[in-house]
């Protein structure tokens, strides 16, 4: 290949320098988890070998076959029919990892106190490359006037993100801040990488099968939270997308009590058409007053 061609290719290299290696901690956690799982698998195989090689007779072995079949069917059913190696946490991780389309998520969060009920409904459109999102929030109350808040943001590469916030008609306030923005889905993904997304059980809820998983927020990194109280994530057993995220706090006598429930009404990936990609962008309409804020 001639040098000119190489030079032209190098000029368009989107990552001209190797980025610094991310911390190895999350990877070691994943590896430890795999080692643990592998250890369980080996133990199972050793146990099976002992059974098969037992000096008692072939009849005793044959007598165990129905029990083994029943156990296998039970495991199959508990794991959603995915086979012996099926990993529900990994399936959840895959289901919530952003693709190349436009992620569209609608969540609702309800709270009630002293007869006053408020529901916050948030629609969010996001893409992962370049990371950006736009959200529209609507607050509904059974008291006072309805409040509509529109929050739109465009996250810049790395650790800087800028946001546009609009709470009043015709006004867009532009703020710029530094920091890594992590939404609740990113926290779940970080917990999985750290080996802290654990399947609790499979139950039926509202007429459908769901898995309940425990999510422990990471202690370090962008997804770290000041409180380490685990959430309970409920996912659809067929699609593995989130259905509910139950947050807990400290209640009386040190007991954990649910503080709020985030309900996922929609969780889907829209194809990356120009019309869908435009959903993550905020455009100031003619006549809009833009206010710059620090």
């Amino acid at each position: 290949m001639n040098a000119d061609t190489i030079d032209r290719l190098r000029r368009v290299n989107p990552v001209p320098q190797d980025p610094p290696a991310p911390p190895i901690g999350p990877l070691l956690a994943l590896r430890e988890r795999e080692l643990t799982d592998r250890g369980r698998g080996w133990a199972g195989r050793r146990s099976a070998r002992r059974t098969a090689a037992a000096p008692s007779s072939r009849r005793r072995v044959l007598a165990l076959v129905p029990i083994a079949l029943a156990c296998a069917l039970l495991v199959f059913a508990l794991r959603g029919g995915g086979g012996g190696q099926f990993d529900v946490a990994a399936a959840v991780y895959r289901a919530i990892t952003p693709g190349h389309g436009v992620r569209y998520v609608v969540t609702e969060q309800a709270s009630e106190a002293d007869g006053k009920r408020m529901v916050l409904r948030v629609q969010r459109w996001s893409i992962s490359d370049p990371p950006s999102e736009r959200s529209v929030s609507l607050e509904r109350r059974n008291y006072g006037p309805e409040r509509r808040v529109r929050i739109e943001s465009a996250i810049a590469p790395g650790t800087t993100w800028s946001s546009w916030w609009s709470g009043r008609p015709g006004v867009i306030e532009h703020t710029r801040a530094t920091g890594v923005r992590m939404n609740e889905v990113a926290v779940i993904r970080a917990a999985y990488r750290a080996g802290h997304l654990r399947v609790l059980d499979k139950v039926h809820q509202d007429g459908r099968a769901v898995y309940r998983l425990q999510v422990v927020p990471p202690r370090t990194g962008p997804a770290a939270r000041s409180r380490q109280t685990p959430n309970v994530l409920i996912v659809d057993a067929r699609t593995f997308v989130p259905v509910e995220d139950i947050n807990y706090g400290s209640g009386p006598h040190g007991r954990l009590v649910p503080t709020f429930v985030l309900r996922y009404r929609t969780f889907e990936e829209l194809p990356p058409t120009p019309a869908n990609l435009a959903l993550v962008k905020l455009a100031a309409h003619p006549g809009t007053h833009v206010v710059q804020r620090r």
Binding site: T5, R8, V12, P16, E34, T97, H100, D129, P130, P131
Partner: protein, 176 residues
């Protein structure tokens, strides 16, 4: 050196290169996952990792990405990604119209042609190293690279001759 020490040394020496390889070919978010999967495979097969560790790891990364593409029906084509946006993590480049044309020409190539050129131009590998990443003989790679270069030159000429939007229409866009 224990396995743990060797693994951490392997990660320290090559994680950046593997991450860069992945970010050049997929979204920034997915690149992190690809890198994690590559090193988990490396951990499982630590005894098999040869002396030219970087080349072996890039070969694993290529297969991880290929497996992902096979499994994802909604994967947007690299050819679509190349032109409109750079990965989020990349520093801004002063791309002019000439660079855009190079990207368009690359996007129009077949995947194996494009990968051969990118291994040479972006990963800056020798023919022998690129051949090992692809799991083919060096001589086979040299023939492939020669043909890829010729097709790239033709595609580039087509893009440069067809200004504006017509350039898009003149080139087939391959869905990976």
């Amino acid at each position: 050196m224990t396995d743990d020490e060797r693994f951490e040394a392997l990660y320290g020496a090559h994680a950046g290169a593997v991450l860069a390889y992945a970010r050049r070919r997929t979204s920034a978010a997915n690149a992190d996952d690809v890198m994690a999967e590559v090193f988990l495979i490396a951990w499982r097969r630590l005894a098999d990792v040869p002396h030219d560790e970087r080349i072996w790891l890039l070969g694993v990364a290529r297969r991880v990405l290929a497996n992902q593409r096979r499994g994802q029906t909604r994967q947007r084509a690299l050819s679509e990604r190349l032109a409109p946006q750079l990965p989020a993590s990349s520093p801004p480049l002063g791309r002019g119209p000439r660079d855009e044309r190079v990207l368009r020409a690359l996007a129009g190539l077949r995947e194996d042609d494009r990968e051969a050129l990118l291994l040479l131009g972006w990963e800056e590998l020798s023919h022998a190293e690129a051949a090992r990443v692809l799991g083919i003989r060096a001589r086979t790679f040299s023939v492939r690279a020669h043909r890829a270069r010729r097709r790239f030159a033709l595609a580039l000429a087509a893009v440069e001759l067809a200004p504006g939007e017509s350039a898009d229409a003149s080139l087939p866009v391959e869905v990976l």
